[in-house]
C-alpha cells in the first residue's frame, strides 16, 4: 500500500484479502504511525482531533489511542445526567431548536465522542423524524435511549427502538389493526430497518405487517390491544407461529442478512461510502457480530484494522454538515454557539431532528452540490468570523496553548492540525503568502489575522473530506 494522500486510489479495492483487511494495524516502516493516521482515526471516531490529541496519539501509539477512544471515560455518567436534564428542559421550552442545540453542544463537549458518533449513526439508520413524531419530549426520550444502547447488540438496539412510540409515529403507522395490516410500513421496516432493499422478499412485508397487529400509539404511548391482534400463524424467515414483535426483533437481530446489513452500514460510516464492499470482505465482521453480539466489538475491529488505516479509507468520505462543524469546534477545543447552528445545518442539508427519508440523510457525494457546498463554506466562514462574544473559537489562542502562536509557526500549526500537510505544496505556499501579507498589516492584530488565515484553510475543497 502506498502512503495515503488526498488521492488514494480505489483501483485495488476488489483484491483486498479480508484477513489482512481486519487484522490489527501495527506501525511498520512502510505504514508508520504518524500524524496522518492519528488525525484520520480522530476524524472518524471523534469528529476531529485537537492539537493535544494528535501529540498524545503520536506518543501513545495506535493501540493505546484506540483503546482510549473506545473506553467510556470516568465521569461520563455525570456528564450525561447533566446533559439529559438540560436536553429535556430545552425540548420542553424550545422544542426542536432546543434538541438540536443541546445535542450539537454535547457532540462538541462530550468526553466520549465515539458514543455521539454512534448515536448519530443509529439516528440515521432508524431515520426517525421529529416532524412526524410531533412531540419534542418523545424524540428526546428516544435519543437518550439510543445513546444508552448505541454500543450494545444489534438485537438490543432494535428492540429498544421497535417498541418506542416514535418508531411507529415517524413511520406514519400509529395503528396496526387486525383487518388492515400496514403493508406499506412493513415494507419500510424490511427495506430500511431490518435487511436492506435487496433482501425484502426474504422477510415478507405481508407477514411482518401481521406481526405488528394489535399495537397502537395512543396518547403518545405504545398500547397493545388484544382484540386487534391477528393471532393466525405468521412466518418470519423459517419460523412459523403466532409471533410477537419481540420475537420478530429477535429473529431479525440474529439473522445473518440483517447483521450483514448493519455491518455494511458501519463499514460505510467508519471506513468508506464510496464503494460497496463485497460480502467476502465483510464476512469477518459479520461473524464477529454473530459471535460477540456486540456493535462495540465490530467498531473496535474496524478502528484497529489495516484497512481502516489504508489509503482506501483515508479521506475517502465527505463530511456530513454535523461532522463539518462539530469537527471544527473540536479541532480548536472550542465551543461554538449551537442555537443558530441547528437551523444553519438544516439549510446545509442536515436537520438533526428530521432525517428526510427512511434512508436517513443522503450520504457520500450526495452531501454536496453547488448549493450545499456554498452553504457549508458560508457556515464555516460565519463560525470563524462571527461575533466573538459567544464563541470560544480562537485559533491564535489555541496556537498559544501549544506554543505555536508565532508568525513563523502559525501557518504550519494550521496545516498540521487540519490537513497534516496533505495539501499540494503550491496551495500551502499560497496560504503562506496570504499569511505573510496579513502580518504586514499595521498594527498587527494576530487574533484577527489568525481567523482570516483559518477561514482560508477551511474554504479549501479538501476540508470537505474526512
Amino acid at each position: 500500500m502506498k502512503t495515503a494522500t488526498f488521492r488514494s486510489s480505489m483501483s485495488s479495492f476488489r483484491a483486498i484479502d479480508p484477513k489482512w483487511a481486519w487484522d490489527e494495524y501495527n506501525s511498520n516502516p512502510q505504514e508508520p504511525w504518524d500524524l496522518k493516521k492519528a488525525a484520520h482515526l480522530y476524524r472518524r471516531a471523534a469528529f476531529a482531533p485537537g492539537y493535544g490529541d494528535l501529540s498524545r496519539a503520536l506518543e501513545d501509539g495506535p493501540a493505546k489511542t484506540i483503546t482510549a477512544l473506545l473506553t467510556p471515560p470516568e465521569g461520563l455518567g455525570l456528564f450525561h445526567s447533566e446533559y439529559d436534564t438540560l436536553l429535556k428542559d430545552a425540548a420542553r421550552t424550545q422544542g426542536w431548536a432546543g434538541i438540536r442545540a443541546w445535542w450539537l453542544r454535547r457532540m462538541m463537549e462530550s468526553p466520549f465522542p465515539l458514543e455521539e458518533k454512534l448515536t448519530l449513526f443509529w439516528h440515521t439508520h432508524f431515520a426517525i423524524a421529529g416532524d412526524r413524531v410531533g412531540d419534542p419530549a418523545l424524540l428526546t426520550d428516544y435519543l437518550i435511549r439510543l445513546r444508552q444502547k448505541c454500543r450494545d447488540s444489534w438485537e438490543d438496539i432494535l428492540a429498544e427502538v421497535a417498541l418506542h412510540p416514535t418508531f411507529l409515529l415517524s413511520g406514519g403507522a400509529p395503528s396496526h389493526r387486525k383487518m388492515a395490516p400496514n403493508i406499506h410500513w412493513a415494507k419500510v421496516f424490511c427495506d430500511h430497518v431490518a435487511l436492506g432493499p435487496h433482501n425484502h422478499r426474504v422477510l415478507k412485508p405481508e407477514e411482518v405487517a401481521r406481526v405488528w397487529t394489535g399495537w397502537f400509539v395512543l396518547n403518545k404511548k405504545l398500547r397493545f390491544i388484544p382484540t386487534e391482534r391477528d393471532t393466525d400463524p405468521k412466518t418470519i424467515f423459517d419460523q412459523t407461529g403466532d409471533l410477537t414483535v419481540a420475537e420478530l426483533v429477535q429473529l431479525v437481530g440474529r439473522h445473518p442478512l440483517s447483521q450483514e446489513f448493519i455491518v455494511r452500514k458501519l463499514y460505510q460510516y467508519f471506513v468508506s461510502d464510496e464503494h460497496s464492499p463485497p460480502p467476502a470482505l465483510l464476512r469477518p465482521l459479520v461473524e464477529l457480530l454473530e459471535t460477540t453480539n456486540s456493535v462495540h466489538a465490530v467498531v473496535e475491529r474496524i478502528l484497529r484494522s489495516n484497512l481502516f488505516f489504508s489509503p482506501l479509507a483515508y479521506r475517502a468520505k465527505i463530511k456530513s454538515p454535523v461532522e463539518l462543524v462539530v469537527g471544527l469546534a473540536r479541532s480548536f477545543e472550542s465551543l461554538i454557539p449551537t442555537a443558530p447552528l441547528g437551523e444553519e445545518l438544516a439549510s446545509a442539508g442536515q436537520d438533526l431532528c428530521n432525517p428526510p427519508s427512511f434512508e436517513g440523510w443522503p450520504a457520500g457525494k450526495h452531501w454536496i452540490h453547488q448549493g450545499t457546498y456554498l452553504a457549508r463554506k458560508r457556515l464555516l466562514k460565519r463560525i470563524v468570523g462571527g461575533p466573538t462574544a459567544q464563541s470560544t473559537l480562537d485559533p491564535w489562542k489555541t496556537a498559544q496553548k501549544y506554543q505555536k502562536a508565532s508568525i513563523r509557526d502559525f501557518p504550519k500549526f494550521l496545516a498540521e492540525l487540519l490537513y497534516q500537510h496533505d495539501l499540494e505544496p503550491c496551495v500551502e505556499e499560497a496560504l503562506q503568502k496570504r499569511w505573510n501579507s496579513l502580518t504586514q498589516i499595521r498594527p498587527f492584530a494576530p487574533g484577527q489575522a489568525a481567523k482570516i488565515l483559518l477561514t482560508e484553510f477551511l474554504l479549501l475543497p479538501e476540508y470537505e473530506l474526512t
Binding site: R7, F358, H366, H369, Y373, L374, L431, T455
Partner: protein, 429 residues
C-alpha cells in the same frame, strides 16, 4: 478558469471525464418517449431540449375555490348554490361562452388571450382527501393514501436529475417555513431561499476561491477511472464558485425591480426570474403561496374579500412575471403551474364561505403551453360529496411535466400511471 473546450483524453474535456466518473451509471442512456440519446458528453447527459427549461410550482395552500376563480357563469346551478358568493356575469371576465375569470384575474386576461395560459379543468384523484394535511400529502407524494411515504414527486425527480448531473442545484424552495414534502428526495437536498443572496455569499471572496482552481490543471490528465473523491469536491468547488459569480453578476446589473414589487408573490417570482436569467441550471422552483396549512385559501367564512385579495396578488404577480419573462426572452424556457390541494364545495355554507371540495383546475403559464381551457368543466349536477368530480388524475399532469418538459422518466418518479398524459404543451415543444 480552465477552458471547458480544452480536449484531454479521447477528445473529451476534463469536465466530461469527471462527469462520466461521477455519474452513477458509466454511460447513462436516457429514453424519453421517442427520443433516445447516448450521454457521451456533458451536454448530452440530459436531452438538450429540456436542459434549459425551468418548472415553477406555486402551491395555493388551503384549497382554492376554483368555482369562483374560473366561474361557470352560464350555469344556473352555480348561481343557485351561491346566493351571496356568486360572481355575476357583469363583473366577471368572460373567457369562453360559459366560463369567466374572477374580476381580480383581470391582469391575466391578456395572458390568456395571448395563448400563454392554460386552465386544466377537473383535476383530482380517486377518493380524494378533504383534510388539508392529508390532501397536501397526496399531492406532494403523488402516492395518494400512502401515509408512510416520506419523499415527494419533485424530490424524486431531483434524484433522477442527480444521476445525470451530481453537482448542479436542480431545485430550490423559494419561501419561508418548512420545506414542503413535494421537494424531499432520497439523495438530493433542495436548498431554501428567500433572497438571491441566500444561495450565495455576496461578501468579497477569499483567496481560497482561486486556490480551489490552482490544483485543477495539474490534475487534468488523470483518467476518469482514477478520479477520486478529491477530484469530485474540487469540481463541485469550481462550479459552486462559478454559480456564485453568476448570481453576483445578475445582482450587480439588477435594477430595483425585485425590491419594488407590490406583492410578496410578485417579489418571489421576480427573484426566480433573476435566477433563471443567471442560467444557473436550476430546473425546479417551488413556491408556497397561502402560508402554512390550513392556508389562506381555506375560505370557510367571509370568503369574498379574502379570496379577492389572494387572487389579485396571484394575478398581478403572474402577469408581472410573464412581462419580465417576455422582456428577458425566457418565457419559452419556463413553465409555471399552480395547484391547490382541493377545490371547494359548490354550495356556500351559511357563513359566506365554502367547505372543502374535491376536483379543481390548474393554471399553467408559459409560451410553450397549449393555451386555453383544457378539458371539460366538471358537471355541477353530478357532484362528489358536494365538490366537483375529477376526470383528470393529477399524476397524469405531473407525468406530462416530467416527461415532456423536464425530460425525467415519469415511471421512475410516479410508478404506474392512472391514465394518459395531458396535452399541456404545444405540439412540437
Amino acid at each position: 478558469m480552465q477552458n471547458p473546450q480544452h480536449k484531454l483524453v479521447d477528445g473529451l474535456t476534463r469536465r466530461q471525464l469527471l462527469w462520466r466518473a461521477f455519474s452513477a451509471a458509466p454511460v447513462p442512456l436516457v429514453t424519453f418517449g421517442a427520443r433516445r440519446l447516448a450521454a457521451t458528453t456533458e451536454e448530452s447527459c440530459e436531452v438538450p431540449h429540456h436542459k434549459n427549461r425551468a418548472l415553477i410550482i406555486i402551491q395555493l395552500t388551503g384549497g382554492n375555490d376554483i368555482l369562483n376563480t374560473v366561474v361557470p357563469f352560464e350555469d344556473s346551478a352555480y348561481h343557485k348554490a351561491r346566493p351571496t358568493l356568486r360572481i355575476v356575469a357583469q363583473k366577471a371576465i368572460p373567457v369562453t361562452d360559459s366560463l369567466a375569470f374572477h374580476p381580480a384575474l383581470k391582469p391575466l386576461e391578456d395572458v390568456f388571450r395571448a395563448g400563454t395560459l392554460a386552465v386544466v379543468q377537473g383535476v383530482g384523484y380517486p377518493n380524494s382527501s378533504r383534510g388539508h394535511d392529508e390532501a397536501l400529502r397526496d399531492w406532494h407524494t403523488a402516492r395518494p393514501g400512502d401515509e408512510v411515504e416520506r419523499t415527494g414527486w419533485l424530490g424524486r425527480a431531483c434524484d433522477e436529475l442527480l444521476t445525470h448531473n451530481p453537482i448542479a442545484v436542480h431545485a430550490v424552495f423559494v419561501g419561508r417555513g418548512k420545506p414542503p414534502q413535494a421537494i424531499i428526495g432520497r439523495h438530493f437536498f433542495v436548498p431554501r431561499i428567500t433572497r438571491e443572496d441566500d444561495l450565495v455569499d455576496t461578501q468579497p471572496p477569499y483567496e481560497s476561491e482561486s486556490l480551489s482552481a490552482i490544483v485543477t490543471p495539474a490534475e487534468a490528465s488523470r483518467s476518469a477511472a482514477e478520479a477520486t473523491l478529491v477530484d469530485f469536491v474540487r469540481e463541485v468547488a469550481r462550479q459552486a464558485w462559478d454559480l456564485r459569480r453568476k448570481v453576483i453578476a445578475v445582482l450587480e446589473k439588477s435594477d430595483d425591480l425585485v425590491r419594488a414589487s407590490r406583492f410578496d408573490l410578485e417579489r418571489v417570482l421576480r427573484l426566480i426570474g433573476r435566477l433563471i436569467q443567471a442560467e444557473l441550471g436550476i430546473r425546479i422552483f417551488y413556491v408556497d403561496f397561502g402560508g402554512p396549512p390550513p392556508g389562506g385559501f381555506d375560505t370557510h367564512a367571509n370568503q369574498l374579500e379574502n379570496h379577492d385579495a389572494l387572487l389579485s396578488e396571484l394575478a398581478w404577480s403572474l402577469k408581472s412575471f410573464v412581462t419580465m419573462a417576455e422582456r428577458g426572452g425566457f418565457l419559452d424556457r419556463v413553465l409555471l403551474m399552480t395547484f391547490s390541494e382541493f377545490g371547494r364545495t359548490l354550495a356556500e355554507n351559511g357563513r359566506h364561505g365554502t367547505e372543502h371540495g374535491a376536483a379543481s383546475s390548474l393554471f399553467v403559464v408559459g409560451s410553450a403551453v397549449n393555451g386555453g381551457i383544457l378539458g371539460e368543466h366538471p358537471s355541477l349536477s353530478d357532484l362528489d360529496q358536494g365538490g366537483l368530480r375529477y376526470h383528470t388524475d393529477f399524476r397524469c399532469v405531473y407525468a406530462t411535466l416530467l416527461n415532456e418538459w423536464l425530460g425525467v422518466s415519469p415511471a421512475a418518479v410516479l410508478g404506474k400511471l392512472p391514465g394518459p398524459t395531458v396535452p399541456l404543451l404545444k405540439p412540437g415543444v
